[in-house]
């Protein structure tokens, strides 16, 4: 057996490492260095964190400045006019135009998102005097014509129409062969013997 023979390499390595202990004062130096590092670390961390924070703030500021300002949301508004709801009364015989002038609702601007009003189904009722409204429209249009009320029936314009007799020129039939223009008469030719039909026969 050789003097340097190694039976179990693991055990040999274990003995080898036991033969080499850490240098004297190793742990003390280690703790001393760790303490020195811990004392110095706050200053280092201050420098480490300041620059990224400042850079981040600058970037965020640049983004905030360059970002397009969002448009203010358009709040759609509607002018709500009070619908002319008439109470369910018996129809009046001749309502005056003043009484049926368009009712101006309460002026005000309200948001759309309003709870729907309760459904009120009004009773059908005549709310306009059409004849009177037409008259007032006519009056406002400049009175270009005069409206005359008359009980006589208007004259029938068809009665004044005079129907004149219609004169029709006589039709003249010209013969095709005699006396016609040269271009209008048909040309009749005898069958050609040299044509394809003649050769087939």
């Amino acid at each position: 057996m050789k003097p340097d023979h190694i039976d179990d390499p693991i055990e040999a390595l274990r003995a080898e490492l036991e033969r080499v202990p850490p240098p004297a004062g190793y742990v003390a130096r280690l703790r001393q260095r760790i303490d020195a590092e811990a004392e110095a670390s706050p200053r280092v961390s201050w420098w480490r964190w300041t620059l990224p924070v400042v850079a981040l703030a600058v970037v965020l500021l640049a983004i905030a400045i360059n970002r397009p300002t969002p448009q203010t949301p358009v709040v759609s508004t509607v002018r709500i006019e009070q619908p002319p709801v008439a109470p369910a009364l018996p129809p009046t015989p001749a309502p005056s135009p003043i009484a049926h002038a368009p009712v101006q609702g309460p002026e005000g601007v309200r948001r759309v998102a309003v709870a729907p009003p309760p459904v009120i189904e009004p009773m059908p009722e005549i709310i306009t005097n059409q004849a009177e409204v037409l008259r007032s429209l006519w009056a406002r249009s400049g009175r270009k014509a005069i409206l005359v009320e008359s009980s006589d029936p208007p004259p029938d314009p068809a009665a004044e129409i005079v129907v004149a007799p219609i004169e029709i020129a006589p039709i003249v039939i010209k013969p095709l062969t005699n006396g016609g223009t040269p271009g209008n008469s048909p040309i009749v030719r005898p069958p050609d013997r040299n044509s394809s039909e003649g050769r087939a026969k």
């Binding site: 179990d8 390499p9 490492l17 080499v20 202990p21 850490p22 003390a28 130096r29 280690l30 760790i34």
Partner: protein
């Protein structure tokens, strides 16, 4: 004193409430330092094979861990977190330090003094062992190192590497076989 401190049992510190102060955090981290400092040194040493470099890496890892300790949710995983951090940092240092190999060779030559025959034999064994370990893949190497440190059990190593125990056993078996072949 250091030996006693390093062999303190693992404190079962649970996750503190959100209202814990900086002093509480520092006190808890101090307890973690006492618990894990020896392991961190040995993990770094298993990669670097130089006590001073191993101490430097372990200190750097603890400083880094201190900065992020307040963000660690499950602080009972601190040892696993620290072990992986030390391992990575030591590997990075070894890759980056091109003069290391020549310095190690110089140290080895210096140690080869004929007056200490036993020391010579131990050095030779150590050199062969580390050479064989260096030939292992990284996944097997970390299992071997963690198993050899502070008599970690398979369960401890599984917890440190956040692997199933079966995986750790399998890797340990494979690593042992390969090392025996390499050391034959």
């Amino acid at each position: 004193m250091n030996e006693l401190v390093d062999r303190l049992p693992t404190p079962s510190v649970s996750v503190e409430s959100a209202s814990e102060t900086a002093e509480d955090l520092a006190r808890e981290f101090d307890a973690r330092v006492l618990d894990s400092s020896r392991m961190a040194f040995h993990v770094a040493y298993s990669v670097l094979r130089h006590p001073q470099d191993a101490e430097d890496v372990a200190q750097d890892a603890f400083i880094r861990a201190r900065r992020s300790f307040h963000r660690l949710r499950d602080r009972d995983r601190f040892r696993a977190w620290l072990a992986r951090m030390v391992w990575r940092m030591a590997l990075d240092l070894r890759r980056g330090d091109k003069n290391r190999r020549s310095r190690e060779e110089k140290v080895a030559v210096t140690d080869l003094t004929p007056s200490h025959e036993v020391q010579l034999l131990e050095d030779e064994r150590s050199r062969r062992l580390w050479s064989a370990i260096d030939l292992l893949p990284e996944s097997l190497r970390l299992v071997v190192v963690l198993t050899s440190i502070q008599e970690h059990s398979v369960k401890d190593v599984a917890s440190l590497m956040e692997l199933p125990e079966g995986t750790v056993k399998s890797r340990l078996f494979t690593a042992r076989q390969r090392l025996q072949e390499l050391l034959r």
